[in-house]
Amino acid sequence: MNTTPVNTVDMSTTFGHLELAAPVTTASGCAAAGRELDQFFDVTQLGAIVTKSIMLNARSGRPTLRMAETPSGMLNAIGLQGPGIESFIENDLAWLRDRGATTIVSIAGGSIQEYQELAKRLRHEEGIAALEVNISCPNVANRGEVFACNPIEAGGVIHAVRRNTNSRVPILAKLTPDVTDITQIAKSVIDAGADGISVMNTTLGVVIDTTTMKPALANVTGGLSGPAIRPMAVRCVWQIHQAYPDVPILGMGGIGSGLDALQFILAGASAVSVGTTTFNDPTTPFRVQVELEEALAQRGFSSLRDAIGFAHPLETD
């Protein structure tokens, strides 16, 4: 730890009613519920743990192969494997609470009603700093169209979750980049009551195995993540911040160093999540946080907040 006062940066950041002591979190699905990573670094030191998206019922996920490595990235089709909300509350949430970690719970559903049930079930649980609503899920009622690809459905989910969540618990809507105009989706979730936006989820891809001459993944398509998608993710943050400068953004996509994180902050993110690079090195989220503070200090920032959106031209009325 750096003790020289000149180098200390106020790293705190806000999402609605939530103040995070530090701006780096794990990315949903890349840290389970924090327990495994706690072997490698103190998870309470991180801004927050964003847990793997949880659904109402236990879910087996997809068949294997679920993963293919790609240049500076990977394709995954896990299929939201998880134990269901009751087991999550009993085991994972309880562990995070006992451990004293700041926890952002990610929820996922196949219908607006499922999201609503999840929100209701979580409403009276202690130790939830915020909800992240993963709307990159197929809408069963709408022939599998992903909620986050349809402004009305996306807004519908957020509205239902907002109505059933304590008003002091912020809600982040997690968007997919696989849309024509991400600011349109952003607008509808903000209008529906989202306190912030998480961006981006993975982008769809296919890898063909040239030995078998078949798709590498059992599911054919998978979500691309890792440093390969970083410029795309920074673009999403940039566009949303430009359109809605007052809406806090949790930025993610290929962050593996403090400077990577700084790009997101300068583009307009209030905090960042570290996902795929955790697989390369389980200490990455913590290292990113330390490096980000150094990078801000080196650039003369005394507060993270001053750096948010710094890359944008000054507003002229």
Binding site: A32, N219, F279
Partner: protein, 316 residues
């Protein structure tokens, strides 16, 4: 599940040696702090390609040998069969180079309480963990038959060492270039009878493990198999490495082979269903059919029929 969870650490390890043995490379690393935590069956995950590598995912290897008292403050050895870019990079390291490794990972083999006769089977580089296991079993008084099998002689690993570590050594090759021509399972029934073996330990390709587990259950004895599933994180956070395993409660779950395995009891793995999600698995999609073609983004025209209503598009 066999044995307790490991307490892994992450270290920058110096490459001490790279030695070619048949089609494999034996690599030794100075890995302080790791050796004393390792039991046979644990694995190590190694970052490949250097600091600015485009290969993000670690490669996993069974731990072959450890020496806590080595002159380098603890050493660790693996046996690498070069496959793609990651393993090629690894075996082209030279003494003095540094690599980042995380170990020990996973649950190791568990040892029987009584000194019963055991059969250890290693397929190809799957032989790696068997020598240390043989030694530990013999120290406890077990009779140990070691069977090493491969497609051909150059892919048999550790014959000299095997002869020393085990009570008996049998080799099999599919082309007959060494030992018995055929597969490891061809020699198992006789070995089981000879010494009334009670446990078979296996490490190697999934097909071989399935066959071993089958022989064991046919003879009413136990088997423990170290599986090899594709892994993205190796530490239990990503859910890529799962396979269908029957729990003690009789319920099948998709379980992580990196943390709950890689060693499983042979009769708990649903070998024929590996690569699928069995319909009776906890949380399996309800087998209803989506009739209309999907129009959502991500619906590709040539995708196979979805298993259930929510099985498409939701890749995130």
């Amino acid at each position: 599940m066999p044995s307790a969870v490991a307490d892994p650490i992450r270290v920058e390890a110096e490459v001490l040696s790279v030695r070619r043995v048949g089609e494999y490379f034996v690599m030794a690393f100075a890995a302080p702090g790791i050796a004393e935590r390792v039991s046979p069956g644990h694995f190590v995950a190694i970052a490949v390609g250097g600091d600015r590598s485009s290969m993000l995912l670690r490669r996993s290897f069974s731990i072959y040998r450890v020496d806590p008292s080595g002159s380098f403050g603890g050493t660790l050895e693996i046996v690498v069969g070069p496959k793609g870019a990651g393993t090629q990079w690894l075996v082209s390291r030279r003494p003095g180079d540094m690599v980042n490794l995380i170990a020990p990972l996973g649950r190791p083999f568990s040892l029987p309480v009584d000194p019963v006769a055991c059969i250890l089977v290693g397929g190809g580089y799957g032989a790696a963990p068997m020598f240390a296991l043989a030694e530990q079993l013999r120290e406890r008084g077990s009779h140990v038959d070691l069977v090493l099998g491969a497609a051909t002689e150059s892919r048999l690993f550790g014959l000299v060492e095997g002869r020393r570590a085990a009570t008996t050594l049998t080799t099999t090759t599919e082309d007959g270039s060494d030992g018995v021509q055929g597969r490891v399972t061809d020699v198992l029934p006789d070995l089981i009878k000879q010494h009334d073996s009670q446990v078979i330990y296996g490490c190697g390709p999934m097909g071989m493990l399935q066959a071993i587990a089958g022989v064991a259950s046919d003879h009413g004895i136990a088997s423990q198999c170290a599986v090899e599933e594709s892994m993205a994180c190796g530490v239990g956070v990503c859910m890529t490495c799962v396979l269908p395993v029957i729990g003690n409660d009789g319920v099948t779950r998709m379980v992580r082979s990196c943390t709950e395995g890689p060693v499983f009891f042979g009769d708990q793995v649903r070998w024929s269903d590996v690569g699928t999600v069995p319909d009776d698995c906890l949380g399996a999609p309800t087998p209803t059919v989506v009739s209309a073609p999907l129009q959502g983004r991500g619906a590709l025209p040539d995708e196979p029929a979805p298993r259930g209503p929510v099985s498409r598009g939701g890749v995130r």
